[in-house]
């Protein structure tokens, strides 16, 4: 772009500016959009190459339903528990008044923990609650046989426990700014007008925070739904989660129907898109009040 020639700028400018963002669009096209589009396209293809939505009808087959169902249950559970406990932690260091240092420690730790997912996290939990894990052994010392009693790290609830390690921090990170947005004045005004702390939370604080809390829980849902590495490292495919199913489909054709495999993938994309969409909507709503 030249600096001179001000009079002739408009047409040349339009041409030149598109050039600036072209690499971005080309790259995103090649490595984000096209891969997704190809999956979508192939999901609408039948065995002989014609367009069909049969693959989507087969989504209700046993194997797929089981996978989706399990993934949804796991995601809902971790989103709910992670959301609630993450909220309580964030509350403790902000409004709960535990000091700036504790808050920034929690903040930094949450940043690290939310990125700790995958093999290291799975390994850490195996060493904690696996069959010969630290905590398992500790329980044995006091006479409690965890595995004998039916507990297993390699089960739904074991996986939930592991997932919470990155779900809770994610909630903390996102909800802390929202809690900051709760003006101290509102609490004082409510107190001044005669409200007890419970009444303040019931009438003012929780309603104002609700869009944020709900939206973030939905974000947590999406986060768990699309997670692959942690589950793979922990269970290696034992639990038929949707992401693990897709992973197996990549390596081979476990569903005996390639089109179905693509449909399963697209189904996941749609669920993720919906969750991110709802999250954005609720986030914008809460920003109005918590600016």
């Amino acid at each position: 772009m030249t600096v001179g020639g001000a009079q002739k700028r408009p047409p040349r400018r339009r041409y030149g500016t598109w050039l600036g963002v072209l690499p971005f669009f080309v790259f995103s096209g090649l490595f984000l959009i096209a891969p997704t589009v190809i999956l979508g396209y192939r999901s609408l293809e039948s065995a002989d190459g014609s367009l069909t939505i049969d693959n989507y009808r087969h989504l209700t087959s046993d194997a797929v339903m089981r996978s989706y169902g399990l993934s949804i249950r796991l995601s809902l559970t971790t989103a709910l528990i992670g959301g609630i406990f993450g909220f309580l932690l964030a509350w403790a260091v902000s409004i709960g008044g535990l000091g700036r240092r504790l808050r920034s420690a929690l903040s930094t730790f949450s940043g690290v923990a939310s990125n700790f997912a995958g093999v290291p996290l799975a390994a850490a939990f195996i060493f904690t609650l696996g069959r010969i894990g630290f905590v398992t052994a500790a329980f044995e010392l006091i006479g409690v046989d965890l595995y004998g009693a039916g507990f297993s790290l390699y089960s739904f609830w074991g996986l939930t426990l592991v997932y919470l390690y990155f779900q809770i921090p994610l909630m903390v990170l996102v909800i802390l700014p929202a809690l900051d947005g709760l003006k101290k004045d509102w609490r004082e005004a409510a107190e001044n007008l005669g409200a007890t702390p419970r009444q303040y939370w019931r009438h003012v604080a929780l309603p104002v925070l609700l869009p944020s809390i709900l939206g973030t829980m939905i974000l947590l849902f999406g986060n768990a739904f699309g997670a692959h590495a942690t589950a793979y490292a922990l269970t290696g495919g034992l639990l038929p989660l949707a992401t693990l199913l897709i992973g197996q489909q990549i390596s081979g054709d476990v569903l005996n129907n390639p089109g179905l495999g693509y449909a399963v993938a697209m189904g996941m994309v749609l669920i993720m898109a919906a969750s991110i969409g709802v999250y954005s909507l609720l986030q914008r709503r809460s920003e109005k009040w918590l600016r």
Partner: protein, 280 residues
Amino acid sequence: MAALTISTTPSSVATETPAAGQPVKRNRFWAWLFIALGAAYFLLPLVATGYWSLRAEKDKLGFEAYRRLFDDSNFFPAFTQSLVNAVAAIALSLAIIVPTAYWVTLRVPRLRPVVEFITLLPFVIPPVILVFGLIRLYSRPPLLLTSTYGKSRVVLICAYAALSFPYMYRSVDNGLRAMDVRSLTEAAQSLGASWITILRRVIFPNLRVALLSGALLTFAIVIGELTVALFLAQRTFGPYMAELTRSKVYEPSAMAIVAFALTWSALGMIALITRPRSRQ
């Protein structure tokens, strides 16, 4: 000077006042309880893993597990590969995002919603889906990019760059806002600088902190990444760690501690460099 008239208006003040001289104490019991529970939950796995990592030698606390880990012939090659991949992905991501963010802010603000939407796509397309699409797309002519290890590696790096977009773009965008990029650019233009010069001498230097943050975050994501590397048959640190977990007993604990330390240092550094400067 005040007239001392005594008022006898009946009051409606509630009579539940604490004993005189007793100020009300702020009850922090619950807050501490939640933090304690949280600390227990988050620290226990680290303690357990750390403990196990020191128990490789029977009945002795030592660093044998770490020694074996670093001595493993596959450790450093895998780690180095990941390191190189990370650096390449970061460079690629910066090269694409910084000019784009700059252009969107200054020249085509109309495109901002579109660009922002695209940078958020990695949240909608989880890695397992992305690699699925990448393989199906690039494993057949005319776009055969997965036939050799080297070419697959390029695809991997590009995928990592794409997955870093949300963090990189947000970091750079915040940085641009903070430095009032419009005024600086106009000043530079009025002094005769071309847009390459502006990018090189005005934009990049002032974005150092934002760029570092984005880079460190990308590093933390790439270094232990498993899913994409696994399905592209890459011998990087992620698949190596997964293999280690299945085959060895003590080394995985050392590995987990090392991985945690890496992530912590990368992200701790971000926290350090983004601390508000007291000089201003």
